[in-house]
Amino acid sequence: MNKITHIKSHITPMMIDDIDTDIIIPAQYLTQTSQSGFGEFAFARLKAEPDFVLNQALFQNSRVLLAGDNFGCGSSREHAVWTIKELGYQAVIAPSFADIFSNNAKKNGLLLVTMDATQCQHWATTATKKDHMCHINIASQVVTYQSTSHHFDIDPFFKWCLTHGQDDLDYLHSQLPEIKTWEQRQQKLYLDIFGGQP
């Protein structure tokens, strides 16, 4: 995971509620076996509309996506996170996020900032000018835009991983002794009950 402590970027406003993972990357593009190559199919259906925000030159090179409620709902495909990362985004701000999407975002260093819907809408209306920069300070958990600041919650372990560039699999893997102890306990349950075949 790449180390990130600050994000400075103008905002891409995509104020649609319930953006599901099928919208982000439709199923027909999921047959690849690599973790890249999805960006060109990102938001394929919406991109067909000329007015769609990602078709506007103003929002190229943006690092912060501002979206509607329940972002990332639907399927568990991590491809949705890979796709958003491939578009260059480092953070998504929205009123709420779906659970599996949130977990997948953490595994890929994509910061999700929860902010209330009125504030999101307010920022979106002013986000159409490129010179309005948004600053995210991950250490202090503050996002600043224009003259407004918003303090956001973050999972402390994810914050540590993100600001130190650490992969959480390394941490989990370092816990193998404890995992083995639990397995012996669990295996006893299975040996007693299931004949060792879970």
Partner: protein, 466 residues
Amino acid sequence: MKHNIIEKIWQQHLIKSNSGFPDILGIDFALIHEVTSAQAFQQLADKHIPIRHPERLLATVDHSIPTRDDREQVHDPIAANQMATLRNNCQEHGIKLYDMGSGHQGIVHVIGPELGVTQPGMTLVCGDSHTATHGAFGALAFGIGTSTLAHVMATGALLMHPPKVMRVHFEGELAANCSAKDMVLHLIAQLGVGGATGHVIEYTGDAVKSLSMEQRMTLCNMSIECGAMAGVVAPDETTFAYIFGKPHAPKGQQWDLAVEHWRSLTSDSDCHYDAITAIQLDSVKPMVTWGTNPAQASHIDDQIPKTAHSHDALAYTRLTGSDQLAGTSIDWAFVGSCTNGRIEDLRVVADVLKNNTIAQHVTMYIVPGSEQVRKQAINEGLDAIFKQAGASFRQPGCSMCLAMNDDVVPAGARCISTTNRNFIGRQGTGSITHLASPLTVAHSAIHGHISAAMTNTINQQEHCNE
């Protein structure tokens, strides 16, 4: 201390709980398929981390495989490569793979239960959001992303914060022409697509207890469509009877010990829930979606809501000028998926199609959830009924649920479907999807328009123990 069933399963699988860190949760079993696993194997290969417990993994191909009789011929070279990658990975790491023609290939969430792999009290994961299906057995089962799958393959555990628990209590009795599909669509319509986010749902009430295992699977399957990562039904005699004798089920004395353990997996009376929702079933009628997410559903003969919120969805589904769903002409009918691709679902459909023919302008696909379901259907003569009615009875897989293979609803065509998502373009670019129960789909196929049964004409209890 009183605990609900989810807390009990969590405690039994909690390896470590440290302040400031997510919990480390032991995972008993993982199911894998071709679409979300390749990158997990690659991640581990890149880090030179071996797979710790290949015996706690089971693989199959389901998402992108064709359902033609000559399905071994995969025309899309990228999809073919993805399947070949799974085969190579399974062979290299000693993972059991139920491939096409093995006798047990099928949708992951259909084969887990039918093999007896899914058992009460276990933690089970899969790179698929409909893993919630297995909660019907009193297991804590949920969908994970590819990186988390890599974590599970590397360690047999994952990192996670304990979920909140919502109790959904179904009160009253379900009408004879309704099923678990109508129950869950009704629930999702009430809660909204994000209404249970952050929660695991425990389904309770006599109406749940009286459901067959396959109906409970339908109920739990769609938990994710209201945002819940899992849905659970406490195990009972119906559960034990279903598991008994399955290939992976405990046998002999171990069976008795297992059942004794499983009986402890119920929520204590007066235990804590983070949220409680009561759903009254007496007024529920057959449910059909009118919009572009599963919460946009109503009774088949209700007025379609015309609000600012429904405007865009109705424009897409071309129902802006319609008053109600009943009577809307359809082009396609689809029966299948991890939601409704099991033998009981096929029996319900066959019972309606028997001595009937589907409307001339309708194309109907019936895709069994597994090779076992297909075999059973043929043994019972259902294939002949489907054929005589004019439906195409196909080879097992996910098929038209997500249109990753050749089974695609054409642009502009309207499909009534037993699947779980009616997102824009889900069944093919430009396709229109109406989610409904197998009974409603079968009736609609005959009439050529959205139509519900007056009464449920099949007695499912007769079949549920077969």
